[in-house]
Subunit: 248 residues, 4 copies
Amino acid sequence: MTIRVGVLGAQGKVGQAICAAVRAAADLELVATVDKDDALEAFTESGTQVVVDFTHPDVVMGNLEFLVEHGIHAVVGTTGFDAARLDRVRGWLADRPDTGVLIAPNFAIGAVLSMRFAEQAARFFESVEVIELHHPNKADAPSGTAYRTAGLVAEARKRAGVGIGPDATSTELDGARGADVDGVRVHSVRLAGLVAHQEVLFGTQGETLTIRHDSIDRSSFAPGVLLGVREIAKRPGLTVGLDPFLDL
Amino acid sequence: MTIRVGVLGAQGKVGQAICAAVRAAADLELVATVDKDDALEAFTESGTQVVVDFTHPDVVMGNLEFLVEHGIHAVVGTTGFDAARLDRVRGWLADRPDTGVLIAPNFAIGAVLSMRFAEQAARFFESVEVIELHHPNKADAPSGTAYRTAGLVAEARKRAGVGIGPDATSTELDGARGADVDGVRVHSVRLAGLVAHQEVLFGTQGETLTIRHDSIDRSSFAPGVLLGVREIAKRPGLTVGLDPFLDL
Amino acid sequence: MTIRVGVLGAQGKVGQAICAAVRAAADLELVATVDKDDALEAFTESGTQVVVDFTHPDVVMGNLEFLVEHGIHAVVGTTGFDAARLDRVRGWLADRPDTGVLIAPNFAIGAVLSMRFAEQAARFFESVEVIELHHPNKADAPSGTAYRTAGLVAEARKRAGVGIGPDATSTELDGARGADVDGVRVHSVRLAGLVAHQEVLFGTQGETLTIRHDSIDRSSFAPGVLLGVREIAKRPGLTVGLDPFLDL
Amino acid sequence: MTIRVGVLGAQGKVGQAICAAVRAAADLELVATVDKDDALEAFTESGTQVVVDFTHPDVVMGNLEFLVEHGIHAVVGTTGFDAARLDRVRGWLADRPDTGVLIAPNFAIGAVLSMRFAEQAARFFESVEVIELHHPNKADAPSGTAYRTAGLVAEARKRAGVGIGPDATSTELDGARGADVDGVRVHSVRLAGLVAHQEVLFGTQGETLTIRHDSIDRSSFAPGVLLGVREIAKRPGLTVGLDPFLDL
């Protein structure tokens, strides 16, 4: 039996890609698409079971209230959720204990896994550094993902009582050793021809372990969204971040 | 308080490296070293708490019987353990419920972690291939580690109902697509200047994840052995493989 | 002073990208665009100095005859040139000694350079292997580029009297060691999430050299085409392949 | 016919490795080895044709004066040559026009080639950055090789009129974007388990080219030294640096 899926923000770039991905999946059926001027009732009328929402912070709360109220599960990539908003969603869900909402800032499974693996490996190696490589139009260095990865790694090492890696540098040209994020060095490369890439390098006596993630296309969110659609019915309540759905 | 450590096979190449690593660790104390012609009583007389055994299949069973009988924990890198031998070790341990024995074929933490991560990532990607790269004196292709990694990945995909990756190859020069290990393609590079390296490549729409392990020195077993020494007292009974000690 | 540029096949995917690239270049001016139903006279009337032709084997010879006759330089990415066609172009150029025509099968500068560097490095290393990695919809394995690269490398080694690299493999799972192209092993990876990538690995005692080319976008021909446009006036006659324009 | 080779500093670590390499080469014959307390006449008495000198700045000038005077070619890896010393060597060679002396700071062929290729590729790409990765006991960041590579690349770009690569970074955590060497960003990774590695990354629209050199063993000078020994008789006079011997 297929899952009946609806898409909110169906005309947007991301929305169109998700519609295409749902249509291409044998176990999913696209039964309703809604954009700016369409009524949300399209979902109730069509018997939609799960709605994917990649819309806008201004409208996403209204969408979610409607969906939860009607017992429709939601998989949400829209941004702008703070603690207060998450609490409101939890409040709605309290009245609908069988309904699930997944809100995730990043649906790229490779990115989620590489952060998780980096965190797990962190305490077993003397040294760890992060290199992130992006297109030259990026405004921030390091990237948000690299900053978060370094933070997770640093925290895992602290919990395990592992100190900062050895470093005998005594003569440094300013900036050569990268940025210091909680004791983890992070290097930001900006290069034409790249999209979004990250390497976490771990090293100890005689061996190194490298976890590399390459994203060359914004469509890389699609497999993660479909995973969310397939799993959400089994996970009532609010889930923040894709990690729990990966069952690692 | 330091852990009192003994080394069996202390004159061998590996034994010497382990003695050096124990001496260099602030929380460990090297209290007894034993080689071919020395008496095992050196361990009981010195109050040794954990013995590391990198000896020979011919003598390791005698060593273990003595150690377990005297309640001394053992961390063993010696090869040649089959099911019958493991059962005998379990038998001895039944009488000494507080004593731990760890027997592992591979103490390189990076190798153990990369196999584990590959297994965890396996079901989330459409495609997976393995490239292993070694010095040109290696007799077997693919390497044992690559063969085992591909098998673990294939099994994880099967359990999750994930099929073989897409491949439209219709014209192939013999061997170009590598060896087929349970549906996972494995490529073996043999190159002067290399030691032992492995990449597991995962790919799905728009993104790839690569787990790479580089081992450039046989000393890479040391950190794994020390981990075993530090943890063995908390893990009575027989443990096969380093994985459980990593608490992933 | 800017160069006055025309584009043939201006409505095609490649043609549109070239028009955009010309418009974005400060030293070039797009003065005429011609597609299927347009007259070639647009080039003579607009004083075009260089025409870029990405059209079709059926029409490219007519285009070139017109351009050469009118002393307009041509940079050609259209395929289908055999020895006979090249001779005819040379014949037309004999009457116009100041006019230049560049016909190249590959305008991606990174690809051209990596082949060249591989050829130059070939004789200095004991071992060499090629790994090419592509999207899983590719029909041939190895890729044409990898096949040509391996051939160039093999030939360079033969000229220098360097034998085939050492390889002690005695037990091989069928295909593990890749395809044999003139004594150079070539490995073809097919992975969702990739586009077109190639690594040439060289190794000798204690060191390796890797030349890697990543192409993630068909637009990678643009910089090579612009290089051709800027240089063609200084290189009268027929040039086949972008290499000579790189002045290495 | 074999070349008759002598080694100066034959008892040192490097000297021993060179003796072994000469012995292993079918076209070379080790006919004299000299160390601290031995007379240089061993070379003249044995009919040595080429001497390899890896000794000390304090004695190398005396060695060279003797060798050139007796028409014996020299391949020199000893450090400490400034302009004045090079001029003195040239002076001696003026009287022996058939004798050759090669003085090189780096005999690792992979390192020499990767610098050369980087210089050649420099002007064809919008962006270029250098990542060097070393063991954590290294005192300087960036490495001397990375510093020189970035300088060569920057100079090649300047000569070709290519500006600094695009970079929209507006928010930077101090050091994230690396050190600035003449407009080329250089990143220094320090990681246990590494030896000496360098990547030069070039990028332009849709494609990147990476030149990577890995040195995992100090023996990597041997192939370059043997190349020098084989070629020096054909290159009379003073040569500084291995590059000219590569005939690229």
